[in-house]
């Protein structure tokens, strides 16, 4: 199993609940949302539960996009400094210092992986990409000299538009595959700020291709943060782990994620994650489906489905945000558990799921179910095209 929780604001008992449910195999911690003492205590608490893969996304990259006044991370994360510009990355000594401070910080914690610092790339040929490569290189060097370190994951935070150019992706992969690290921790920065399963098919195919090259061909561990449903396709292509969290900003990464706001977040509408639809839908939409006598068709086949089925209808059940979160992770973990080690058969299986979801959506719509934007099946043709394109380019 390889589904991880993306930690964030307000963890409460969410992580332990997911562990008890058997859906989370690991946690990716967010320094922004935890002071270091509390985080260390919490790690000790999780260790006492049993085995969970624990790692920390150092969020070093946010230092280049957050204003100097906004520290973003609590003061006790010494490697972090807000308001860094390209000038802060000139000279090998500075780069080495960032790598050293970030890795040494994690080395002192009880984590299973060390995650290298990085910066945010908009394109694989931009100035920041060179800085990211230098940070990765310096991290490998520093890690090589550490005493009994945990395995190193090189980190990349990349705009989805960087995957437009196959040539640039290829050149970047040529460089990434030269490093002697255990693997990569990758976050894709989405163009669209709203939570959606849509993804440009060419970009998606190139992203799957990169995952396949790193994970399947070159035997690197590849963990995707903020991956959610899209992560299932990346797992099929060779990723070793995918993560998702409780809020939408922990399920998909967007540049807004890096901006600290004091605004009160709008209370999200209660959702239901449907494995057969490969999407989350609103509880009101689930109610419509129930009204047409088709509830069983969209249930995920996981334990928490029972919270819905034991009531007379979805809207009369005790379904709430917390149950919806846990059910969402169970659904992702359940689909994830069906993925084996063969990329070709994984993709074939996922294409079958996509075809089934398309047919189910059109059937439900034909009987009168109305889905809102981002809850409908618009993402499925993208997925179908992307998966087929991926097979064409990766396994001709």
């Amino acid at each position: 199993m390889s589904f991880y929780l993306q930690h964030g604001h307000g963890k409460s008992t969410r992580i332990t609940d997911a562990y008890d449910d058997g859906s989370a195999a690991g946690v990716i911690f967010s320094p922004r949302n935890e002071k270091i003492d509390k985080l260390n205590d919490y790690i000790a608490e999780l260790r006492s539960l049993g085995h969970l893969d624990l790692m920390l996304d150092p969020q070093f990259h946010i230092s280049t996009v957050s204003p100097p006044k906004d520290r973003y991370l609590p003061d006790d994360y010494g490697y972090y400094q807000a308001g860094r510009t390209t000038r802060d990355f000139t000279g090998a000594r500075k780069i080495q210092k960032y790598a050293q401070e970030t890795l040494d910080f994690q080395h002192a914690m009880d984590l299973d992986r060390l995650v290298a610092p990085t910066v945010i790339l908009s394109a694989f040929s931009d100035r920041w990409s060179q800085i990211a490569l230098q940070l990765a290189d310096a991290s490998c060097d520093h890690h090589g000299g550490m005493s009994s370190p945990k395995p190193l994951l090189l980190s990349f935070v990349v705009s989805e538009s960087a995957f437009d150019s196959r040539t640039e992706v290829d050149q970047f992969l040529d460089e990434l595959t030269t490093w002697d690290a255990t693997g990569f921790y990758i976050c894709i920065v989405r163009d669209e700020a709203t939570y959606t399963q849509r993804f440009d098919p060419d970009r998606f195919a190139h992203l799957m291709y990169a995952t396949y090259v790193l994970g399947e061909l070159n035997d690197f561990e590849v963990a995707f943060g903020y991956a959610d449903y899209l992560g299932l396709a990346l797992r099929a292509a060779g990723a070793s782990a995918i993560a998702s969290g409780w809020s939408q900003s922990l399920r998909q990464c967007h540049s807004n994620t890096f901006i600290k706001t004091d605004n009160m977040a709008r209370r999200p509408l209660v959702r239901f994650s449907s494995g057969p639809l490969l999407n989350t839908i609103l509880l009101s939409e689930l109610e419509q489906i129930h009204g047409f006598g088709r509830l069983n068709d969209v249930l995920s086949g996981v334990g928490l489905d029972a919270e819905i089925t034991r009531s007379t209808s979805p809207e009369s059940s005790d379904w709430n945000e917390r149950l919806a979160e846990r059910h969402h992770w169970q659904t992702l973990a359940d689909i994830d558990s069906t993925l084996g080690s063969g990329v070709r058969s994984n993709v074939r299986g996922l294409l079958t799921r996509v075809a089934h979801a398309q047919s189910l959506y059109s059937n439900l719509e034909s009987i009168g179910v109305r889905f809102s934007r981002n809850c409908n099946g618009d993402h499925l043709p993208d997925w179908d095209e992307a998966l087929n394109e991926f097979v064409r380019i990766a396994m001709p």
Binding site: D170, Q171, L173, D174, T177, L217, N218, D219, P396
Partner: protein, 301 residues
């Protein structure tokens, strides 16, 4: 033959102290090759024409260093440093600048390996090497590639003509004269040198700033070599092809899977050879050890 020194054993013996019983072996590239006894052991003696007036036999450094001299230095330096048992060994005399019968020459010695190279024995007559020999060649030459890469160098000229076999059956990689040094002075600036029908796609494109040239280029050439020796045919080149045809095929064509040409080749070995010839470095093996492990598993099965 104009670029090859014209020497006789008698001329050499008269000039070189401590070398006796000299016999001609042949010519390779711009080199005249002889065998001779040094301290009772037989070595290869290699001579190249030195660039005339600029050379003084007592000098070891020159303001003007032509490619040929750089290559000879690179070859000697690589042989001296390389730890692989499957890379030809430097003899007791390293690089020297000498004059024999008025000819200014560059001279060095190396391990003498009897017999012909694999180009002469197999590739030119289009004969196949036995499959277990192809696997052994893959393992041993990959070991040499790994050791050269330890020095942060890329051989850049792996081909049947640069591989020989010792009497004990081991394969040996020769001629590191074109080695590309990631850290130091480069022969031809990393540009187009070597034998184009064994070039990796990235060797053709080395002028591009982003092109990565590393040991994986050597794995490509080794893959082509293994393909050729296992099937009796070159994966990209047929007689009469122009250089543009070869470039295009190396970049774009998918060769016929080796097991479809020679039924003795397993699917597993086919997969390995085709992966070695991946169009991008990231499609090949990222560690020589991984390739060796895969080849050994084929050998075992």
């Amino acid at each position: 033959m104009g670029d090859v020194p014209n020497l006789t054993p008698e001329q050499i013996e008269a000039e070189l102290d401590g070398v006796s019983d000299i016999h001609p072996v042949g010519h390779g590239g711009q080199k005249s090759v002889f065998s001779g006894l040094i301290d009772g052991q037989r070595f290869a003696l290699k001579f190249l024409k030195a660039p005339g007036d600029e050379l003084d036999s007592d000098d070891t450094e020159f303001d003007y260093t032509p490619d040929m001299v750089v290559r000879a230095k690179r070859e000697v330096e690589t042989m001296r440093q390389c730890q692989s048992p499957y890379m030809v060994k430097l003899g007791p005399i390293g690089l020297e600048f000498i004059t024999i019968s008025g000819q200014p020459l560059v001279f060095f010695t190396e391990e003498l390996i009897a017999g012909a190279d694999l180009q002469a024995e197999y590739a030119r007559p289009r004969k196949c090497l036995g499959i277990s020999d192809v696997v052994q060649l893959g393992v041993q030459i990959t070991n040499a590639v790994a050791a050269i890469w330890e020095l942060k160098k890329v051989h850049r000229d792996i081909k049947p003509g640069n591989i020989m076999r010792r009497e004990n059956g081991d394969f040996v990689l020769l001629d590191a004269g074109l080695a590309f040094d990631k850290l130091g002075e480069s022969v031809s600036g990393g540009g187009l040198v070597g034998t184009p029908i064994y070039f990796s796609p990235e060797q053709f494109e080395y002028t591009s700033r982003r092109t990565v040239l590393d040991f994986r280029s050597d794995l490509f050439a080794l893959g082509v070599t293994m393909y050729q020796l296992a099937t009796g045919q070159h994966p990209f080149y047929v007689r009469g092809d122009q250089s543009g045809d070869v470039y295009s095929k190396i970049r774009n064509a998918n060769p016929t899977p080796p097991h479809e040409i020679n039924g003795d080749i397993s699917q597993e070995l086919t997969d390995i050879i085709l992966r070695m010839m991946g169009k991008s470095p990231h499609l090949r093996f990222r560690k020589c050890e991984q390739l060796i492990e895969r080849l050994i598993s084929v050998e075992g099965s």
